[in-house]
């Protein structure tokens, strides 16, 4: 019998406690480091102000485009064709900066670009995808309506045929990037069921107005789209999208990124809390020395580690072509919920400082309230999983 020498176990890192770094390839690590340094240089110094002012600079889109992060997992049409894991890593790092920045990239790449990539004609792909990949053209994705959120099948926006053209009427609400978009992917009912359309900015009858007074995802534009007798030519319709599966396929892509992004926000809050706990002194000792604080930190670390591991596992499955939409629901439900808990716990560790924009924590915490709701609410994902395991739909 041969004996093997036990390897010495290295002391775990305070953030990457499980050593997940070792599960990434050199290329994946380089992508992570690159996006992380971009976020450190360009996002973190400014995002507090963007959040307070309720804006996201248009220029950031071009910068993300130069890095190749817009539509990064699409192939051809000047898109890099990166893996799902690489895309997830980028989402994680962007959201460690701010969910608004990650949302920008998600909506552009996974909703608007993906809709054209998956359902569009060759002509539509060639017209839009290269410009969108460079961040020169911005897209938005109009599915939700004032009266139809979780139940998009009931949408009232309607497109009717008029000779070769289509005439669109309706209202879309809560549309990320709406007013800054050069093109909107609009989902509308037709006599043949739900169809998707590319509506360009400036088309007569198409207008937008921004939603103000949000106290979540403030570094992101959210708008209302109004379509009043908007006439678009036949070739504005996405020819391959038929029925609700059109928008749902796009949402599944974006949700996958959220599984990673949420853990980015959680990591940022955990790091802020850990740092604070080690330096903030009360009763003559760092607050990190109190058992109650250590319990909080340890619990945060557990969920951060598990959620990150889950994201990576689902990513590898996606790259392998084995990821089922219900498994995406599993990831989104778990990781956003746990990220929100981590951020709230981090908030308590920072005391009064935790409620200011001088620290990232309350910003992330508030952002995650939107992330919990969009791309399918946590309740909806619970029902997706419930239906999958029982075979009984509880939606209606």
């Amino acid at each position: 019998m041969t004996t093997t020498h036990a390897k010495t176990a290295a002391a775990p890192d305070a953030v990457d406690f499980l050593g997940l770094d070792a599960l990434l390839s050199d290329e994946e690590r380089l992508i992570r480091d690159t996006v992380r340094s971009f976020v450190r240089d360009r996002v973190l110094p400014n995002v507090g102000e963007w959040f307070e002012a309720g804006t996201l600079p248009r220029e950031l889109g071009r910068e993300l485009g130069r890095l190749g992060l817009l539509g990064m997992h699409l192939h051809g049409y000047d898109c890099p064709g990166a893996s799902a894991v690489a895309y997830g890593i980028a989402c994680m790092e962007l959201e460690a900066g701010d969910a608004g920045v990650r949302s920008f990239a998600s909506v552009q790449g996974s909703l608007a670009m993906f809709a054209i990539y998956r359902w569009g004609s060759e002509e539509q792909k060639r017209t839009w995808l290269p410009r969108m990949a460079r961040g020169e053209a911005i897209g938005c994705f109009g599915l939700t309506e004032p009266d139809f959120g979780s139940n998009p099948a009931g949408m009232r926006t309607f497109a009717r045929r008029d000779g070769g053209d289509w005439i669109l009427n309706g209202t879309k609400l809560w549309i990320t990037n709406g007013s800054i978009a050069d093109l909107a992917i609009v989902w509308a009912n037709t006599d043949d069921g739900i169809r998707g359309f590319v509506v360009e900015k400036g088309t007569r009858g198409f207008s937008t107005s921004d939603i103000h007074k949000k106290i979540s995802l403030r570094a992101s534009i959210t708008s209302e789209l109004v379509l009043q007798d908007v006439r678009v030519p036949a070739d504005a319709q996405l020819p391959l999208a038929k029925g609700l599966s059109g928008p749902l396929a796009c949402l599944s892509e974006a949700r996958f990124g959220i599984i990673w992004g949420a853990m980015g926000a959680a990591r940022a809050c955990y790091e802020a809390a850990l740092d604070y706990a080690k330096t903030r002194v009360q009763f003559d000792r760092p607050i990190g020395g109190f058992q109650l604080t250590q319990e909080k930190l340890a619990n945060m670390l557990l969920e951060l580690g598990k959620g990150s591991l889950l994201a990576l596992h689902l990513g590898r499955m996606k790259d392998d072509g084995r990821l089922h939409p219900a498994q995406v629901s599993f990831g989104k439900l778990n990781n956003v919920r746990e990220a929100l808990k981590i951020c709230r716990e981090a908030r308590t560790i920072l005391g009064a400082n935790g409620v200011t924009l001088e620290y990232p924590v309350i910003r992330h915490m508030n952002n995650l309230e939107s992330v919990l709701t969009y791309e399918g609410t946590s309740e909806v994902h619970t029902l997706v999983i419930g239906q999958q395991i029982t075979g009984i739909s509880a939606f209606t």
Binding site: D26, L30, T34, R66, L67, G68, P80, A82, A86, A90
Partner: protein, 262 residues
């Protein structure tokens, strides 16, 4: 035109550094290795020149480092360098500035270049002596601290930064140039660059390829590090407590005046 950029692989400047008392060398285990920050500026200069000159201009990065750090060079390739050369050999361990420059110069002669761009300073050793020594061994001119550079008619023309202003200097190729940090912020690697980098080559070189007639490494070192100490801990700064802004400003002004700073 062939541009070569030297890139030292150094411990992450943001990480805490430790020197092993026994070997008097930097402890590298557990610390991430990165491209020496000054060398990222040198690479940025090379890539800008390549974009400007076009044609068949290529950018090669060169490093002398342990073989285990090979993948760190991938970042330079991702930023846009065409290929890389890594000089590694157990016999190079413990080289001082002289040994490093002597070995590097012989290797660089083999690699060949029209323009050699060297960072001004390494983040770990920080002697700043390598560029001068390289130019000496390579028998080329040395132009330093360039904030702008251009090549025309087989000559390099640079704008040098000095304390008193700028100087325009011309030198024939081949030549060695160092860059100032004002040359331009190093670009981020793009995703396409990162994905393309794995297909680029990192050629290996060893001492046997160089045919040196003097020994390098610890055995050939002409200098010896006798002792080292961490920098003294900075004392607490002066805190000016004042009833209002005006008295506070006055106190600060008086302090600066006393130090002859105003």
């Amino acid at each position: 035109m062939k541009i070569v950029v030297t890139v030292k692989l150094v411990p992450d400047p943001n990480a805490e550094k430790r020197i092993d008392p026994a070997t008097k060398r930097l402890v590298r285990t557990g610390v991430e290795t990165v491209l020496n920050p000054y060398d990222e500026y040198a690479l940025e200069a090379a890539l800008q020149l390549k974009e400007r000159i076009g044609g068949d201009t290529t950018v090669t990065v060169f490093a002398m480092a342990p073989e285990s750090l090979k993948e760190t060079l991938r970042k330079a390739l991702a930023m846009g360098a065409d290929d890389a050369v890594l000089l590694s050999d157990a016999g190079l361990e413990g080289s001082d500035v002289w040994g490093t420059s002597y070995a590097m110069a012989h290797a660089l002669k083999k690699v060949g270049f029209d323009l050699l761009i060297v960072g001004g300073l390494s983040d770990d050793g920080s002697t700043g002596a390598t560029p001068g020594a390289l130019a000496e061994y390579l028998q080329t001119p040395l132009v330093t601290n360039a904030r702008k550079a251009d090549v025309a008619d087989g000559k390099l023309q640079i704008e040098r930064e000095t304390d008193t202003g700028y100087q325009i200097v011309k030198a024939p190729l081949p030549t060695v140039m160092t860059t100032a940090l004002t040359f331009g912020e190093p670009r981020y690697a793009s995703l396409k660059g990162i994905m393309g980098a794995k297909k680029k080559t990192i050629a290996a070189m060893a001492l046997a390829d160089l045919g040196l007639d003097q020994s390098v490494g610890a055995a050939g070192a002409k200098t010896e590090l006798l002792s080292f100490a961490p920098p003294p801990v900075r004392g607490k700064g002066n805190v000016v407590e004042a009833a209002d802004g005006a008295t506070g400003a006055k106190a600060i002004f008086d302090f600066l005046k006393e130090k002859k700073l105003v």
